[in-house]
Amino acid sequence: MSNITPVTSDVDAPGSLADTSDVMGSSHGNSGPKGPAGKLYGWLRSIPVWALWGIALVWSLPTVGLFLSGFRTRDAQRQTGWWDIRLDELSLDNYETVFGARSSLKDSLLNSMAVAIPATLIPIAVAAFAAYAFAWIDFKGRKTLFIITVSLLAIPLQVALIPLLRLWVSGARFTIPFLDKTITLVPDFNLVGSTTAVWLTHTGFALPFAIFLLHNYISSLPKDVFEAARIDGADHFTIFWRLVLPLSVPVLAAFAIFQFLWTWNDYLIAKTMAGNNPDAQVTTILIANLAGDFGANEHLLPAAAFVQAFFPLVVFFALQKYFVRGMLAGAVKG
């Protein structure tokens, strides 16, 4: 299971795509008969490689098709497949339209930002505090509380959705038993239909996983660093701020990337909490609505979908190592 928490080691994590290649290279090409038969044998040996590239081609085909379709005019898209692409039908019209004044893509990109940034930063902070407390502050019941927190991973998102929606609509009330008085724990801010409701939900839902991941890393930091700092008179706050945070950058980055993509790509929470408010529409909702609106604007869909996938793809290509770590670590998330 070490691959679920690859971030705990600073050596190249298992699961990183940057693994050293050719470990097994010696097993190729040096066996088998010589001569024409050897040629045939070599040809047979290379079939798996061709199969691999065939699969890679098939795998990239859908994305390539979407990318090319985005640049084709409405008529071209309707009349021929993207593989029939011709230079004279290329244009940026679709992109101009989706970014244009009458489109809400720009707004929805901002809404996605307004969701994804707080929903990334706040869980990281909260989880880092808690992970530090679970790892390095001694108190009674620490282990029990930690196990309870981690076991919250088992709760699927769907289970919390209905009450959370009610919470954002009408606040939370609690009727005190016997006294029969109802008090308001959370007032009805009427957050439904706002990006705030979306990122708050994400925050709650991200915590068990974030705490688990960060705790693994923070608890494995060398003990003597903390003892030395303690002797120098540093308190928990200083140790956390000056030592733990800088040392935990790899795991924080992995989690941040995972969480950012998770929230950026999320559909269910956004649809539940703010799906009906056009002003708070995130990109996934916009695209889903565009897809549901058969016919009329179908030619804009490739461009819009590509814009939506742009940030994740940039993260994927630019920070691939962290991306892979984050994705693998995040796989256990409920």
Partner: protein
Amino acid sequence: MTLIDATDAEADTASATFAAPPPAEQEPRTPAFYVRRSLGVIAGIGVLYLLVTEGKARSTLVTVAVAVGGSAAIWIGANLLFNQVRDKWQRFTMLLYFSVTLIVTTLISGNRAIGNEAADDPIAKAINKFVNGISSGTLTSDSLVPRFTAMIWIPLVLAVAAGAIGLLLTRTDALATRLAIGAGGLGLVGVAAGAFWNFNARPEVDAVGLVAWTALAAGIGAGIGFLRSSDPMRPMLLGAAIGWVIGAFGAPDIGGGPSGWTIVAVAVPPALIGVRAALNGNLALRERGAIDINSRKWIFLAPAVLFAGGMLVVPAISTIWLSLKNRSGDDFIRNESGDADLFANYRNIFDDPNSWNPPDGLSFQLVGLGQGASWILLAVLTVVAGFVGGFVRRRSAGDDEAPPVFSPGYAVTTFFGILAVGAIVERLLPSSIEQVVGFNLFALPTGTSRLMIIGLIVLAVFVGVGLLQKSRTGKVVELGSPSMGPLIVGGLLVMLAVVTTFRGTIMNNLWWVIVVTLFSTGLGLAIAVLADGVRFEQVAKSIIFMPMAISLVGASVIWRFMYVARDSSTEQTGVLNSLWVALGRVSTGREVASVALVIIGGLLGVALLNKLARKRSNTIGMVGGAGVVVAVTGIVAALIWLFAGTTNTSTTHFVVSIVLVALAVIAAVAIFVLAVMKDAIGMVAGAVYAVVLAAVLYGFASVWGGSLTGFTQKVIVGVAVGAILLALLAMTAQRLTTQNFGGAVLPLILAALIGWFLLRYLAVWGGGVGGQSINTVGNLRDSPINFVQESPWNSMFLMVVLIWIQTGFAMVILSAAIKAVPTELIEAAKVDGATDSQVFWRVTLPQIAPTIGVVVTTIIVLVMKVFDIVNVMTNGNFETQVLANDMFFQAFQSQNQGQGAALAILIFVSVLPIMVFNIRKMQQEN
């Protein structure tokens, strides 16, 4: 792809923005540094441009800043507050009084007890105007800011007063003065709060109850203090304050009580707490140190506990509660005697035919027997076969072998065999005999499902092969053994038969879990093995992994364009339909591409026969030579057709056809004669080829009538494809005679597919392969598949999207595991003479089995909750509904929150065992 191997330095720098500033360290001024720097500047300018031009961008920034900054301020503030406790006692006390009062009064204010609605409150209005001015009037929703300011300004004033009292308290140690300041000051704050008290929330206080509650709570407090053998006075005061609150506000009715009473009622608890604080005195340094340290765990844990508790634990419990109520979640369902019917929602799920819909005739009925008797007979036959098998085995057993009494293999073969034979008979016999042989296991309206029959046959094959294998290796099923393929394929086919017959939400979810898990893991493993050690391994893996970055919604859109079906009169723009229709055109001879098929077919036939010839005796060499003749014939004929076909004169067609048929007959006779002379394989091949030839002639004859176009190349293709079929069958036969059952599977499957193609192609059975159909007038036309709408297989096409995404995940994890297998193990196995495939099945696979377990469990959990793909692509229509989408539909679109909650709990319960297993495993490893 140059960015794939992002170096540590780059990655670390980029990620540092997510955390505190790293230790000051001069970054090397490489070109990459300047690139990053200038990219940062460009991004910054872009953001500034947006902020200047777009009001929405400004308000987004304000929202984000308020959210992140506010949260950070609260937490850092709490830490800074307790940083003061050791050395700056005065400041700490002051801030503590301020903060506690602020929190308490804000809570009270939030309950509408103090403060007013924004509409009535001039001060709140003024603050709103100010705040809205800053954020240009678009900050979040309209109601949030006014309500917040209406609630917060009175608490702020009260908190400042309390802070001042805290400060005063620290300046003296004289008890009398402290009492006066504490009780008097906090009492006055209470009086002020009472004066702001909302008219509607004034308690109608009953003096007796108030005194009783206060005395009771004070007594409890004192008792606790006494038991903890500390000063009972302070807990008593605290208890009295709590008792007073309960007595004054909890017990009596809340409403329009007298205002004087209210002020007293509000003022007394703070005064009591003031007395307690005064008694405490100023703390010594050691005690302050203890506060400093003990406070931290609360500060560090409070946000997490608050969020996790408030957004996961409490909602989960209330969802369970909700699921026990009625369909809409308003109230409990009660019967006449008043007992609540708690599981109505769950019963609804399982009773609903939309969840799963077993067909009526799930029956097995042999001739002249009832259903029960038939099943009993089957069971008896199975057992008897087992004992007979045991008897047979005992007779043939050697001395060193323990004689088996019962042979499970014979029993299972009999079981599946009888089912398979019965299913075939049932399907083949006309419906009038149905009363005699009633047998519609997993029935379709037309009889037993074809998948079921094939699945049962394959399972019977599995048992047969397993038995043969057992006599050699002692195991029926083994990784990589010939029996594994039929087992998996047969099981999968039977599963597909079940899920396509028992339609419904639950069945669909099951289907998703099995198919996506199996194919993602299997493909991921295959790719990991294929890519291992290959040049540009990283590039290939990146391409496969890339879909993980794309949202499920985006992936659905991407695949929608793969699946799109246009009207048959226009060009297909979806990749899959385009291929499908093209295949149809080729197979009905409507495109020049069929010539390519001929040439490729001929070459493949040559290659395969050539390979066989080298491996085996001279006989096969001759067979190979004959194959070459046939293939070359095909190619030459194709070229003739290419030039002659355009003129389309019947004379050319006739000449070409005669030449073709003559050559084919010569080749076939040659093969047949040569084969009969010596070799069993040759015999099989020759016989089969004769059959194929008959098919060719049949096709030739049938198209001679002119009902289909392109008959000449039909013959050409028939000959070429027939050569491939022949070669494949010869290969199969050869492997079967050497008992290489595993090696026979692939050519057999290929031969079956090609044979099917040939039969359809030559119009022996049906007409053509692929997206072509004949309309009412008798003309051929394109007939695309509507992938997302044609039930039941549309579910499968939705699953492809998730498989496309999840394969990358499985591949990366399994690839890492494969690389982690110790090289010594593999080397040792190779030294012992293991082949590559043996190394894989016997060494690598057992080594990575735990990792496969991780991948499988992770994907199962993910698939159980699949929502986005179904929602976007079909929204559960066309019989593709799954649990999560149904839950969303019930809870948020039909307002059946009780039903939705029950579905959510059902998802929860189904993933729980796997999650518990996963979490326990993770815990063990850390």
